[in-house]
């Protein structure tokens, strides 16, 4: 892969760029979808491509493609240069400077290669069975999915970046359906690991089944303001939203509620959050970021105080600081952009039962919907659909759904009354590790 990246850099310089960077990726993956004990689909995927950033002085352009022949790469290089000619000059544009990775990380698991597809099928079926066995009210599993992949990434640049690594990952999830008074309810269970050998299918299935069953008979809560406990999956969604607002692009361009607030108290003292691109447990870990800068650990919020933002090469130059190695990209089809690696919320001391007791009377939220449309990333104001349980006299009571929780991110962070003791990794919208959070007060809208 590094050979391909280097060849693409050379081709881009030959095409007239003053600087160039190439990101080459190749992966092979499998996915099994099962329903009712039978395989719905079995997919085998291979893909390989390269994306090139070309700079002409301080104008930057990007091109990507899958034709990796010499002619193909050369055509791609020409396009990247042509794209750069259209862009306006930007004094901070330019190639990354790279550096030596601080650590070697073991990111691959052999079971991704060693397990035959048939074993992956068995695992998905076991996930489905785990859901069905979880509770007599679980009537079906809409779909159980298990997928794994192994990828190789290489980055090279005319400014001296040259690196490559391999990693693997595997995930399984199911959507269980429970039925009872009031109709059907759904429940999601999921697990992730570096390879299928690291997954516990029965536990994943059980989570989906139990979540669905616990919602049977759900009603609508009264509109009010009350304490709210966010379970780890819901807390992760908000932390992910916070991570976006702490990205330097949003901050420098006046689109973050946290601009100009470094050093200030932006959250309750109980809240500490860091970004760690080297966390051995994190699925966003890698030796370097998407433009070759060695990953590191960055404290973002310490005891409620904002310490720094997340920077890639461009925003770091513009802000006169160092990159926090926060360049990410979905694939070779996209240019790097500022994004968190693994966001980690420091755990607190409060166990779940004690957190419910501390809430007294309130709401436990286990699911939120509409985050992509109900959250304003510029102002931090949000209103999202939710489902969960009533908390009464410090204990979980009846299930509730079809309500919203609303507020603004800044007030919510300040209203955090306690941080739970048990954290969990959640892979939705980034890689986040967080325990449940108790918010002192939030607006709940129901009937």
């Amino acid at each position: 892969m590094i050979e391909l990246a280097t060849r693409a850099v050379e081709a881009t310089l030959a095409a007239g760029a003053t600087d160039a960077e190439a990101y080459a990726a190749s992966d092979t993956g499998r996915e099994v979808r099962v329903h009712d004990g039978a395989v719905e689909s079995l997919t085998a995927a291979t893909q390989r491509g390269v994306g090139v950033r070309a700079w002409i002085g301080q104008r930057g352009g990007y091109a990507y493609g899958t034709d990796l022949s010499d002619d193909g790469v050369s055509a791609l290089a020409d396009r990247a240069v042509a794209m750069a000619r259209v862009a306006d000059e930007d004094e901070f544009a330019g190639p990354p400077s790279g550096g030596e990775p601080a650590a070697t990380l073991e990111l691959s698991d052999r079971s991704v290669v060693e397990w035959p597809a048939a074993r992956l099928v068995e695992l998905a079926i076991a996930v489905e069975r785990g859901g069905l066995d979880a509770d007599p009210r679980v009537v079906a599993v809409e779909q159980a999915v298990c997928a794994d992949s192994a990828e190789q990434i290489a980055i090279a640049s005319s400014s001296g970046v040259a690196g490559e690594y391999e990693s693997s990952s595997c995930h399984a999830y199911l959507q269980a359906l429970a039925e009872g008074e009031g109709g059907k309810e759904t429940g999601l269970g999921f697990g992730l690991a570096r390879g299928p050998a690291g997954l516990d299918p029965a536990a994943i299935g059980r989570e989906g089944g139990e979540r669905a069953a616990s919602m049977v008979g759900a009603g609508k809560p009264q509109s009010r303001s009350c304490p709210v406990v966010l379970d780890a999956t819901v807390a992760a969604s908000f932390v992910s939203f916070l991570g976006g607002a702490l990205g330097a692009t949003a901050v420098q361009r006046g689109r973050s509620p946290f601009a100009d607030r470094v050093g200030e108290e932006i959250g309750a003292e109980a809240l500490s959050v860091h970004d760690d691109g080297l966390d051995p447990e994190g699925f966003g870990s890698a030796p370097f970021d998407a433009e070759g800068t060695p990953r590191r650990r960055t404290a973002l919020i310490e005891s409620g105080r904002l310490r720094t933002f997340l920077y890639d090469t461009y925003t770091a130059r513009r802000g006169g600081v160092s990159s926090t190695a926060s360049a990410g990209r979905g694939s070779y089809r996209s240019q790097p952009a500022v994004s968190p690696s693994n966001l980690v919320v420091t755990t607190g001391a409060l166990e779940f039962d004690r957190m419910l007791a501390a809430a007294g009377d309130g709401i436990y939220v286990t699911d939120v919907a509409g985050l992509h449309s109900g959250v304003n990333p510029v102002s931090g104001i949000f209103s999202v659909g939710a489902a969960g349980r009533t908390i009464r006299d410090g204990a979980l009571a009846e299930p509730i759904r079809e309500f919203t929780i609303a507020g603004d991110l800044v007030s919510m962070l300040k209203a955090i009354r306690a941080v739970g003791a048990e954290a969990r990794w959640v892979p939705f919208g980034g890689s986040v590790s967080t325990p449940p959070l108790l918010i002192g007060e939030m607006a709940v809208s129901g009937s």
């Binding site: 689909s41 085998a44 990507y64 493609g65 794209m83 259209v86 048939a118 919203t404 609303a406 809208s445």
Partner: protein, 463 residues
């Protein structure tokens, strides 16, 4: 278009034979060449200028209800054969024969000016115009970003039943996002314009969308928190159609229905809405964002009446689901790319206009909420619970819009909300959206005139 497009017939025959070498009732090759260009303007500077090209194929073999699927990059005969071998590798049956291929002609959506023939500088100039027009709308516009995207997908489908067909799809879209600021108050606005057509889409006055996006943000500077609780809701036309898309469209996709994971399961022929309501999924609307001449399994797209006078009349089918119900595909088998399996998806979905005047629909509401535009929505088809984020909303008091509201979300349940639609406006507009399902994103059109729902939960932050 009459040829085999991206596939030589003899190569396609050989690949299909290989796909069926170890059995299977059906085999299919989906070949695709996709390319596009995007750029944006931010801080009045053209940036993120990007172009890309990819080609590849997905081979699918169906045996006993299981889809065996493999995809590869590249369209060389060797690439296609590799995919076929991989797809068939888990099968252990007897070789099956495929039917000889016959090319089926299609008529792609007309494109007058190919975007790839328009100089990139012209696209940059369009973005600069959006930037200037949006910023000129008001001094309180603090930030503006605009984006331009063009994409072309040439696809060819060949299957073991002898079908060989192709489509050539070109889509262009611009979008504007604005930030307005007054002291500590910050509001945003957005608007898009897109179609399944060429650069001629921008022949009119595309700058108006920048003014609209800016206008929304400026209006919201005067907004107060949205109310909370259950009340009548009037939804404006155009992107308001996302309401029907989420509330009903997803629940009519046959994969959810067949797994008993939709609240519409078993309701075919039943009254699900008041008799005033007619709704369609139409993949043939000329130059509309969600239109194609064929779906991604080669079935012709069609206009499907899904609700007739309040009665549920059809689900939306791909090939596999249609086979299970012993009906014909409705041309709704769509996929994001050659890297994905086709599943039932909407194309352009809309509620047909009624005969009420929008002003009169509002005038009849004592206290309610007016949703002028949505940021998006989401539904869980199995439970029917949905949520919509309102990007521009107003309070209705004594039959008039009184004040703009920020931060509102609408939540409800499909069956209740659909049945509660009690007035339809005579206006009509289509808007563009990107719909996500099963990890695949496809372009969809949504539309309607004004729609009134007698009661719905508005979730705001008002104390």
């Amino acid at each position: 278009m009459t040829s085999g497009g991206l596939l030589e017939p003899e190569v396609a025959e050989r690949v299909l034979a290989r796909a069926l070498a170890a059995g299977g009732e059906f085999a299919e090759i989906f070949a695709e060449r996709r390319g596009g260009q995007t750029m944006s303007i931010d801080e009045s500077r053209i940036e993120s200028v990007q172009a890309g090209d990819e080609e590849g194929a997905g081979v699918r073999v169906i045996s006993g209800g299981t889809a065996y699927f493999a995809h590869v990059d590249g369209l060389d005969p060797a690439d296609l054969e590799r995919a076929a071998t991989e797809a068939a590798s888990a099968l252990r049956g007897e070789r099956r024969e495929h039917r000889p291929l016959t090319a089926a002609a299609t008529t792609p959506q007309p494109v007058e000016r190919r975007p790839e023939d328009v100089p990139a500088e012209r696209k940059a100039a369009l973005l600069r115009e959006l930037d200037e027009r949006g910023r000129a709308t008001g001094a309180e516009i603090a930030q503006l970003t605009a984006s331009y995207a063009e994409a072309r997908r040439e696809i060819t489908v060949a299957n073991s039943e002898g079908l060989l067909t192709a489509d050539d799809r070109t889509r262009v879209r611009i979008g504007v996002q604005t930030v307005a600021r007054r002291g500590d108050t910050v509001e945003t606005g957005a608007e898009t314009l897109g179609g399944h057509r060429g650069f001629e889409l921008f022949d009119g006055d595309p700058g108006t969308i920048a003014e609209q996006a800016a206008g929304k943000a400026l209006t919201l500077l005067d907004a107060s928190p949205a109310p909370s609780g259950s009340m009548p809701v009037v939804v404006a036309g155009g992107f308001g159609g996302v309401l029907f898309h989420e509330m009903t469209g997803h629940g009519l996709e046959a994969d959810h229905i067949q797994k008993d994971a939709s609240v519409y399961t078993g309701k075919l022929g039943e009254q699900v809405a008041q008799p005033l309501l007619n709704a369609y999924d139409d993949g043939r609307m000329p130059n509309e964002w969600g239109s194609d001449s064929i779906d991604d399994e080669g079935a012709p797209t069609q206009k499907t009446l899904v609700i007739e006078e309040g009665r549920l009349t059809s689900f939306l089918y791909d090939r596999l689901c249609a086979g299970r119900d012993d009906v014909a595909s409705t041309g709704n088998g769509r996929r994001e790319s050659f890297r994905h399996l086709p599943i039932p998806r909407m194309t352009n979905t809309y509620i047909a206009p009624g005969d009420a005047e929008p002003e009169a629909m509002i005038a009849e509401v004592k206290r309610g909420f007016y949703a002028a535009s949505f940021a998006g929505g989401q539904v869980e088809p199995a439970t029917g619970d949905f949520v919509f984020g309102v990007s521009e909303g107003y309070l209705i008091e004594d039959g008039r819009l009184t004040r703009p509201c920020r931060g509102a979300t609408l939540v409800g349940n499909c069956l209740d909300a659909l049945a509660a639609i009690d007035a339809l406006g005579s206006d009509f507009e289509m808007k563009t959206g990107i719909c996500g399902k099963g990890g695949q994103r496809v372009p969809v059109g949504t539309g309607q005139g004004h729609v009134r729902i007698a009661a719905m939960t508005v979730g705001g932050t008002e104390a």
